[in-house]
Symmetry: C2
Subunit: 418 residues, 2 copies
């Protein structure tokens, strides 16, 4: 067993490590990440064995099969984690990039350059692969990371972290650049959330309850990934076959993810034509529908929707359906009930499309495409640490770039202000 440092010590060590991380160059970071990947592969047997301990405890404590599946590691999944680290290593390095250059009349040259965030606190549940993913992305972004995984994955996370740190160290990983929090005390986490002088950013990954609790208690800024109550609005002039294909894809291709459609809005002028058609398609895919009175009467089937349905992230083969009388009503419904994640319009009217894209206040908005494209890989980010539903700092899919900051670097020859 290791000693357990106090939260103050842990955070101070992370701050110290972040200074050392800021001194690494792109090639250092690449080499360290490769070495971490190799070490994880090399430790596969002990990681899988530590995971067996968690799985056994999970089974006795009655974790659901879905939870157990998320928790489970085997050789293939461990190789997947290592590959994830290699993919991050291979990404172009973001730090030091000049984002803007201001040349002043007095000769002062001011560069806005991408810089490391500093210390990131990552709080997550169940999936042990987040241990490797988050450490990799933070390190690539030049930051030190404190990892706090779920207690159900304690042994798995410890084994992964130990291997990564060991492997990283041999390639120059600064001491304490990756720290796994071994406490299970909620008070310890709350203590860390007060340390806005030592920790620069908190990223919670998990259910809405976890994220809200952290956002409420934290003095450190939180990058929030709340739920995805995603809409598709089928406008008056929509190509109904395209609309059907998009809606089936958005709802059924993978219903358990945050970019799946939860509410379908249909313009009243095409409801008589479109609803029976999508009703049949949903029926074939086993989708349960919760309808407003108009949709109910056209479909002649389904469960009446309550107001709660408009706010619900089902993550399941359930779809709320509402008939709206105009584009404005659709936009208002989405801005009022939506979660600012992803929303789409299907229309042949370019003007309506542009109004929807501009006025729907969400991280990602689509014209004539499925909501399912909102993720880091599809956006070419290489690795994803979450999808922000915030408006400050980062919005939508977040990769390495989104957990960096910038600074202004000014070079002069003795300039003073007059």
């Amino acid at each position: 067993m290791r000693d357990s440092p106090s939260m103050q010590d842990l955070a101070k060590r992370a701050r110290g490590a972040s200074r050392a991380c800021a001194r690494l160059d792109a090639e250092d970071r690449r080499r360290i990440l490769e070495s971490m990947a190799e070490a994880i592969e090399g430790a596969s047997a002990s990681i899988v064995s530590a995971n067996a301990t968690d799985m056994e405890a999970g089974r006795s404590s009655g974790l659901s099969n879905a939870m157990l599946d998320r928790l489970m590691l085997n050789d293939g999944r461990v190789r997947g984690m290592a590959q994830g680290l290699r993919d991050v290593a291979a990404l172009p390095d973001a730090l030091g990039e000049e984002l803007e250059r201001i040349e002043r009349p007095n000769g002062l040259v001011i560069s806005k350059v991408r810089a490391p965030m500093g210390v990131v606190l990552m709080i997550y549940e169940s999936r042990p692969n987040v241990t490797a993913d988050a450490a990799g992305i933070c390190l690539k972004a030049g930051s030190a990371v404190i990892l706090k995984g779920g207690s159900e994955a304690f042994h798995s996370n410890s084994a992964i972290a130990e291997a990564m740190i060991e492997g990283g160290r041999s390639a120059g990983l600064p001491e304490h650049a990756i720290q796994l929090l071994r406490t299970t005390e909620r008070a310890d986490v709350h203590e860390l959330l007060q340390m806005d002088n030592q920790i620069d950013l908190v990223i919670p990954r998990g259910g809405e309850g976890l994220i809200r609790a952290i956002a409420e208690h934290s003095r450190v800024p939180v990058l929030k990934h709340y739920k995805g109550v995603c809409h598709v609005f089928v406008d008056e002039t929509a190509d109904v076959d395209m609309a059907q294909e998009i809606c089936v894809n958005a709802k059924c291709q993978r219903p358990g993810v945050c970019n799946a459609m939860e509410t379908l809005l249909v313009h009243q002028a095409c409801a008589e034509k479109f609803l029976p058609q999508i009703g049949r398609a949903f029926g074939e895919h086993g989708v349960e529908v919760r309808c407003d009175p108009d949709a109910l009467s056209i479909l002649g089937a389904g469960v009446p929707a309550t107001e709660d349905d408009w706010r619900e992230e089902y993550l399941d083969l359930i779809c709320a359906i509402r008939v709206v009388s105009s584009l404005d009503d659709a936009i208002e419904h989405i801005n009022f009930f939506g979660s600012g994640h992803t929303d789409a319009i299907v229309t042949s009217d370019k003007q309506n499309a542009e109004r929807f894209l501009r006025e729907v206040d969400s991280a990602t908005v689509y014209h004539n495409a499925s909501t399912r494209f909102t993720d880091g890989a599809e956006f070419g980010k290489g690795a994803e640490i979450g999808i922000s539903t915030d408006k400050l700092h980062a919005r939508g899919p977040c990769g390495v770039e989104e957990i960096t900051t910038y600074k202004y670097v000014a070079r002069g020859q003795g300039q003073v202000r007059t």
Copy 2:
């Protein structure tokens, strides 16, 4: 007297107005700002007369002369406010700008575009011109704004807001896009700070105490402008004449501002040479020095510094001085005691300069130039709403761009995910 809406109503109206603001185009915004400027000039007499009421109350309640000077408005200052609005109107429009474009193999085109933040709550003290400045910048950035000024400027702020709203309305300013909070109850402000569903951003302008209190109570993200404990580090190889000019400028040109130098760090290898020289120059400018033992013994004068001096933002003709034994010590001192605002190195050693610029974790870092350049105008931002000492979202001088967000706008032809 007007009715006083509840905080809930006020925030809801702002949210509604933000939707209307998002529908304005660049020319609408320009025209509204011009009309606001004209209305302020036209209302100069009534603004100055409202200000006289505040000034009288300020005098009876014993406001300092410095406070009274900040509060005071005359015809010239009102014209200055109007000119400020015209300057903002003339800035290039930032909204809708494509920041990045991703073209996917399936033909989906994803644009990252600059988008309005939504609703901004501006909380400020004494200076009534902030009423006009903040409203102008928020409107230019496409957001609705709730203004909460200091109670000592209540009549002045009301007169300015009334004129702006009246003038803006005649040019198409959406109703409730600018609202002045008429309450003096702290509980009302606290209520607003909980409304993270209606308000997107809080910007406090004022003393450190005000900002800390808001940051602690707010669930809405806060753009913080804490103090400026700015350093100049005079390195071993510094050109001492250049160093003296920079230090005198950074300390004496305008000591009461956040980008003035508060602590001077001198490399021990040039302390014997540089300190007596800067000591004489400071003496001529009436600067009081607070010194560590080494500096004290070399200078043979000054007050011994306590640890508090290293954290102090004097905003006055006082300078803390410390002799350090290396570049590393200087960087460590700054990262530990500094406020992340602005720091400078004077050196002829390019490698040391680059290390300092990279490793000092501050919003703005300078090589061979005065700290006094950190402000919106010098950075070409046209208008400034503050200087952020945060690392998330916006760092350093904040203008119109810094109070916008972005969104991903994807245009397809029926793409679905496979």
